[in-house]
Symmetry: C2
Subunit: 459 residues, 2 copies
């Protein structure tokens, strides 16, 4: 980036020195996300409101300065780090307020920098419920969640971020401020701009305000765990349960490698020989609903080879059942220095085939590939564990094969992490040249000078 | 349109004479929709498959021929009629097949010309459930439903068409065939193209295949009706019930004028003096769920001035309760020769204010304005009844005021009917010049020669 001192001067005049940073410490602090890749911006800006964002974008557009909106920087694909210098627009410092709770309409209006878990806690204190719960919920922001269309454990029943976004305010790259969507359940006037901004990874506009749908908080919930001898039987149980007329809140799995890793670290008495465990939760307002759902799940599990089914007696036991799932990600590091983790997703009925194919990749390349994740919606976190860093290239070959398998099984490169920089090279596995051209045309329609988060998503 | 014989010749070579029509009868048959406006196309084409559609679009694009995709022609805003000559692409003749029922994943894949009710019946015969049920369900096609983002009575609990579209195949104006979305619940790779095609009214691409999410069919349902002395108390009951922790499948209302119209025509013993009635339905898999929901609704209704609450004993009585709602649209014609009907939508808690303001418009202009509709999601069908056709202009002024009221109450011009030609003049009430410019940029990205359904949506 050229003329940095000149641009810094402009931004200092606009935002104040305290909100315009180009020192080494700030550049470092805003250079990374959960990919652990480091790319330093030239300038970090802390806008206080939408009007400042509009002026910043207008200026960057006029000077063709790349600019990347950023929440907590907890993403897994490099969505919030610069590709090659430029400005980071840091939204977590000031743009972090819950603006309105509309209990009459079950709606909350927030700024993008609000942390997911803070929002959940806030609305639950009013008897309401915001279901999307990405594993990063304690760090990640709603703006980031919307930009990546974050999922989470409760997606099996409650869907993902896009199912809760009713409206947004946003600033276009030219500085224009727009509203999109409404506080109404139905709205068919004009193109669905909010819909295309979701999962656009900050490449089309900077979202400055988000209106979210809330639900009433269910009164009761109960967890259960099923143990299976083989992963195939567990995967069969998943899709047959989900098609049985009950919809559990969550339906998570750990494969044998994942179970062993957690057990070795925490000694919780997990079934070390099991092919897989499924951990599930149901909710409702009536005890009868809970009983009915658990009975149906037990029936479907046992029809499909479940050798042990345990229902948590209370919330304490429920938390114990969930312990393995919540601690699996850190535990599997025992299998290798470098973890290449992906979040492919397939239609649920293809899960048995997917896991069988991943096993073949593991054997072919000689890597352990522990798998766990959100099987209730077909989303599997695959982790190619590389022990010898000289094998990294081979690890990436294994990942490429896994992506191909997922796409062949009518699945997607990413269920919830996004594309960003990390998966950009694989976009051509999933999309035709015509489809990529359409993406570029849309990018061009919003951002003709290509200043907003450039070089992401393979565009 | 120029050179019609030349174009007819080309299309006859491509599709055969039997699928290329430019005679008066066909032009007339494809000139109207439910707006009753008549605009004749120059040519009507009946493509047999996606490849033919691709070739037709390529040709139209090269010759800048306007082309309008059409399903059943049952829309309320002119979305499927030509603005000014050109080609109608009639999809109901051949592109009307259910291609795949995937019971393992609760998914169905259809061509755009499948009639909504046929799809509902088909999946219900397999114990599955496709909730969107627009009033036009016996005529309207899934392609039209997707293009207008159709709602229906069950939207209060089950959402609208967009909540069920997982993926589409479509042909771009240049003839490129694209896929968008996946058979997976989560998919965040690439821009949400399926999301922006929904409700785009056939202005961006021709949808050739639609993959829809299904649910398991709930085992039980029960209907109930509440009678209220005033419309205000009924509207308060609506939003307080919807925020109470139960979510009825439907929560429909008729105001006093609507009740009287049905009663005068059908003599069903409706409460002629009531300010409004609310008709509701709950569903579930357990009797306890039904009882719980009905008790909560009764409690909320009675807290808000319900003077009579009746639960249907069986499905026969349930049908009787729904009779008034199903027959209100035809009944209100007693109030005037010309019905100017709109489908404004507001956040539910603003319904009492909305209905009060509509009453003022009624008094100011001297028109009867019977209102009914989907209050469970804030969607009100307002009907300005014009007796003397010399008063039509005044009727349109009343409609304009109603649109302004809806927008001022954080609502939308259209909850489910779309914009098309009919509401195009009102787009500037709802959108800023910057927002309209963004719509035009998106249109341009998909359709640079503006051949696809031009002059719709105020673009």
């Amino acid at each position: 980036m050229q003329d940095i001192p000149k641009h810094v001067q402009y931004f200092e005049n606009l935002l104040g020195k305290e909100n315009t940073k180009s020192d080494k410490l700030h550049k470092l602090a805003y250079s990374y996300d959960a990919t652990r890749e480091e790319r330093e911006p030239d300038i970090v800006l802390f806008p206080r409101d939408e009007n400042e964002i509009s002026k910043i974008l207008f200026y960057c557009n006029a000077h063709k300065i790349p600019i990347v909106p950023r929440g907590a920087g907890s993403g897994f694909t490099g969505g919030s780090i610069v590709a090659q210098g430029g400005v980071v627009l840091a939204l977590e410092k000031y743009m972090n307020k819950i603006l309105e709770l509309d209990q009459k309409n079950l709606i909350v209006r927030v700024q993008p920098g609000v942390i997911n878990k803070d929002l959940q806690n806030f609305v639950e204190s009013h008897g309401l419920f915001y279901p999307p719960d990405p594993a990063s919920e304690n760090q990640s922001t709603i703006g980031g969640n919307v930009s990546e269309n974050a999922g989470g454990m409760r997606a099996a029943k409650y869907g993902i971020t896009k199912d809760y976004v009713m409206a947004v305010r946003a600033v276009l790259p030219n500085g224009d401020i727009i509203r999109a969507g409404k506080k109404t359940i139905k709205d068919v006037a004009g193109y669905n701009i909010a819909g295309i901004l979701i999962a656009s990874e900050g490449t089309l506009a900077v979202i400055t305000e988000i209106t979210l749908k809330l639900l009433s908080k269910p009164i009761l919930k109960r967890s259960a765990m099923g143990v299976f001898d083989t992963i195939e039987s567990a995967m069969n149980a998943v899709y047959k349960t989900m098609a049985s007329g009950v919809t559990p809140v969550a339906m998570e799995f750990l494969d044998n490698l994942s179970i062993r890793a957690v057990e070795q670290k925490f000694h919780k008495g997990l079934p070390m020989e099991a092919g897989a465990i499924l951990i599930t939760e149901v909710d409702g307002n009536l005890p009868e609903e809970i009983t009915y759902q658990l009975a149906k799940i037990e029936e479907k599990f046992k029809e499909n080879g479940c050798v042990d089914f345990k229902v948590a007696k209370d919330s304490k036991e429920g938390e114990d059942l969930w312990f393995a799932r919540r601690n699996v990600s850190q535990s599997i590091s025992v299998y290798g220095k470098k973890k290449l983790n992906e979040d492919i997703t397939v239609p649920r009925a293809n899960l048995p085939l997917l896991l069988a194919e991943i096993d073949k990749v593991s054997k072919k390349y000689g890597f352990k590939i522990p798998c766990f994740g959100h099987t209730g919606d077909g989303n599997v976190h695959t982790n190619v564990m590389v022990e010898d860093l000289n094998d990294l290239e081979k690890g990436h070959q294994a990942i490429t094969e896994i992506f191909k398998i997922a796409v062949d099984l009518e699945g997607t490169l990413s269920g919830e992490h996004g594309i960003g920089l990390a998966k950009a090279p694989f976009m051509n596995l999933a999309f035709s040249p015509e489809e990529m051209q359409l993406f570029r045309s849309i990018k061009q329609a919003f951002d003709p000078n290509n200043i907003l988060n450039p070089n992401k998503m393979g565009l």
